[in-house]
Amino acid sequence: MQQKTLNLKAKTMSTTKPSNSLAFSRRSFMRTTSLASGGMLIGFNLFNSCKPKTEPSIDLASLNYNDFNAFIEIADNGAVTIYSPNPEIGQGVKTAMPMLIAEELDVAWKNVYVKQGVLDTENYTRQLAGGSQSLRLAWEPLRQTGATARQMLINAAATKWGVDASECTTNEGVISNSKGETLGYGEVVKEAAVLEVPEEVTLKEIKDFKIIGTDVGNVDIDKIITGKPLYGLDYKEEGMVYATVLRPPSFGQKLESFDASEAKSISGVIDVVKIGEGANALLDSEERNWTVVLGSSEKVVVIANSSWAAMKGKKALKAKWVVDSPLESTEMQDKKLIGLLDGNDFTTMREDGDVNKAFANADEVLERTYESPFLPHNCMEPMNFFANVTDDKIHLVGPIQTPEFAAQAVAAMLGRDVKDIHLEMTRMGGGFGRRLYGDFVYEAAEISNTIKKPVKLISSREDDMSMGVYRPAIKYRIKASVKDGEVTGYHIKEAAVNGNMYGLIPNFFPAGAIKNYKVDVANYKSNITTGAWRAPYTNFLAYAEQSFFDELAEVMKVDQVQMRLDLLEKVKGTTDERIQYSPERLQECIRTAAEKSGWGKSKDGVYQGFVAYYCHNSHVAEVAEAVIENGMPVIKKVTCVVDCGVVVNPLGAMNQIEGGVIDGVGHAMFGSFDFENGMPTAKNFDRYRLIRMNEAPEIETHLIQNEFAPTGLGEPTLPPAGGAVANALKAATGKRIYKQPFMQDPSFWKTPEKEILG
């Protein structure tokens, strides 16, 4: 395919909407190409920043000309294909991102065909699903791209007609001029593709949107409901073999020796091999990136001609393991973390005023400690990947949230050029952060490189739950002082495993609202692999803080809602640039949630818990309602109010919101994951409880309507849910819980049927 690159003047576009606007350079992200098959391809680039900043994190003018993020293809019959670059883990970007393009391109959604882009380090950038950032970062560039393509089509038509482009209009893929003549996009794409990319295009006013803001169904729905191959585990290739991997049963163990004789005698087992050298070299490599999180033991791999034979073969392996580092237990971890909280060795992440002075002068001081367990991700599709390493190229196929990092790591591990790698992303049976880490990709590649065959690495649920890159156990100790009816001091200490909260969190609410404020963190290094889990840190911190607020309001004898509104009032007009949340927007969520849930006016026997939280650039308030059934508190309903700016696809957004809340409720109530002798005590769903249909509360959602640019939605509704539940449970039973999961000991909650004042 002949590619033509156009030399354009750099131009900085002004932004059209309040907040979160980014300036960008056109030259950095546009390129058009005539397709040999006819039609036109236009490429564009998203900013590769995944941290919310008011300015782009990179100098866009310096971006490589080839850094494109997705493509629109317009065939000469007018058919529009949009290649969605980002991994789809169930968050809906494969539907929502193309909607942004289609809106400004002005084509009917029913005529748009969406395809998953492959990993293409030459042409795309930030092919990553994480941090609830996909839509936020895509909002302007994707619309600009659609608008640019539309303008080029108009320009081509105007030239054909010999009229001025300004007199032409478009409507769903058809261009009209003032004489009433029309041309379809497909009739002018060949001409449009060789035109200069216009320097300036006008984006639609929000009121003129035809696609954004409408309910658009999942683009893969037909395939999902008819069981078509979509996921990594469904991928097959001629000559492919299956591999299962025996890893140390405990974190802290290493392989000493193994006996494969019995495994090899199983029908269907082809071979048994050892891997680990490659992965170990990668752990030591300078090219190791943050997604390389894995143990250093060698592993035994069973190669078989079917999944079942590979699984049976693994069970028949006999291996000896030696202890290489201490085998941890939950008891030991608890002691370590409490020791950190009790100690003085902290890193201070934010400090305003003098908390100790505030505590010394206080009328009242409240201090509480909150505890959480490790959590596995438990994606429904267990970890798997296809690899075919040959001298020519490396073919990788499967579910990965960070394809670019995985490809770089595989190239480094095998001493190959990253250009040798062709990585295809499949739809993922869940992500939740687990597939940010590509350990199973490196293993698959090392296996294929060893046996010189195309291979599919598969995992059992037990493998999946015991080879985790878990949410680490964390404990918070929060202390606050009250003087003359005001919160004067607030000190939060975090003790965590392996790593601490990321740098934005100390500036979340209530930072900026309390004069004397301090965030201290400490951690200890464990041999248990840990990483991001849907809404990292805040998934537990929100419960700790919001539960603490609830208790603080009791101490202050003020209404929980009013207390939060009062605190937010103090943040208004702040000049602190670190404060990114909006007190006005959070207040609006709070007021709306109070109104919609009938806060303070609930029916007899219905007990409410309130939470307001900001994370992933979105503002959320939730009210949970508990009732007592058979002597036990049950969460029946959660009212959720979200301000995530313009909602691109309300149908998908509501699904994310409802799922996020129920996921948050479920893990706060039931997520229990202990270690003994370095080994998880739960390895499958018989011992590990996930929330099910019967326990899922009703969710009533309200979206704040405004014209702010979209912000995250895959994560922000999860963190507040745990706090709302804890506060509702307190209201229902009079008991406060300081440890997750709340239902670890159901007898704690056993309550007389009669109403108890909370």
Binding site: I221, T226, G227, S307, M380, G429, E462, I662, N684, N694
Partner: protein, 154 residues
């Protein structure tokens, strides 16, 4: 290795597998019917649900000896073109997030509605309780089953 005669989605098939091979892996590896998903392998999550003579059954824990001479229906055979009332309802409601568990959910729901065409909400919740959705799309699953019941009725 023993051979087995299976009737899957109305077609007779002969497969040669070890006698302990679960139906799930025969469907996925041998017959290329990958719509039936592997989730836990111990009949706890419901992702592998198929119909055996119309009854919702966990294929991960079903051996071929147990199902010889019985009619197996998988998601691929529920309808020719996604037109089964439950599939239609799933699309109307736009149930899936990641979508991985949904074939199992649909198979459980369709077997349930064949037995109880006019269920209460509590009956729906109880019937669907065995199927985990890790994305927690339970609100929509519930609504889709209710819609499907209406679709079947009309």
């Amino acid at each position: 290795m023993p051979t087995y005669q299976l009737k899957v989605n109305g077609t007779s098939q002969t497969v040669e597998v070890s006698e302990d091979t679960p139906l799930l892996w025969v469907l996925r590896d041998q017959l290329d019917l990958v719509g039936t998903k592997f989730g836990c392998g111990i009949a706890q999550c419901g992702a592998c649900t198929v119909h055996v003579n119309g009854v919702a059954t966990r294929s991960c824990s079903t051996t071929l000896a147990q199902i010889e001479d019985k009619e197996i229906t998988t998601i691929e055979g529920l309808s020719e073109d996604g037109s089964h009332p439950v599939q239609v309802a799933w699309k109307e409601v736009d149930v899936p997030q990641c979508g991985y568990c949904q074939a199992g959910q649909i198979m459980t729901a369709s077997a349930f509605l064949a037995q109880n065409a006019n269920p209460t909400e509590d009956e729906i919740k109880n019937a669907m309780h065995g199927n985990i959705c890790r994305c927690a799309s339970y609100t929509r699953i519930n609504k889709a089953v209710q819609n499907a019941a209406k679709n079947i009725e009309s």
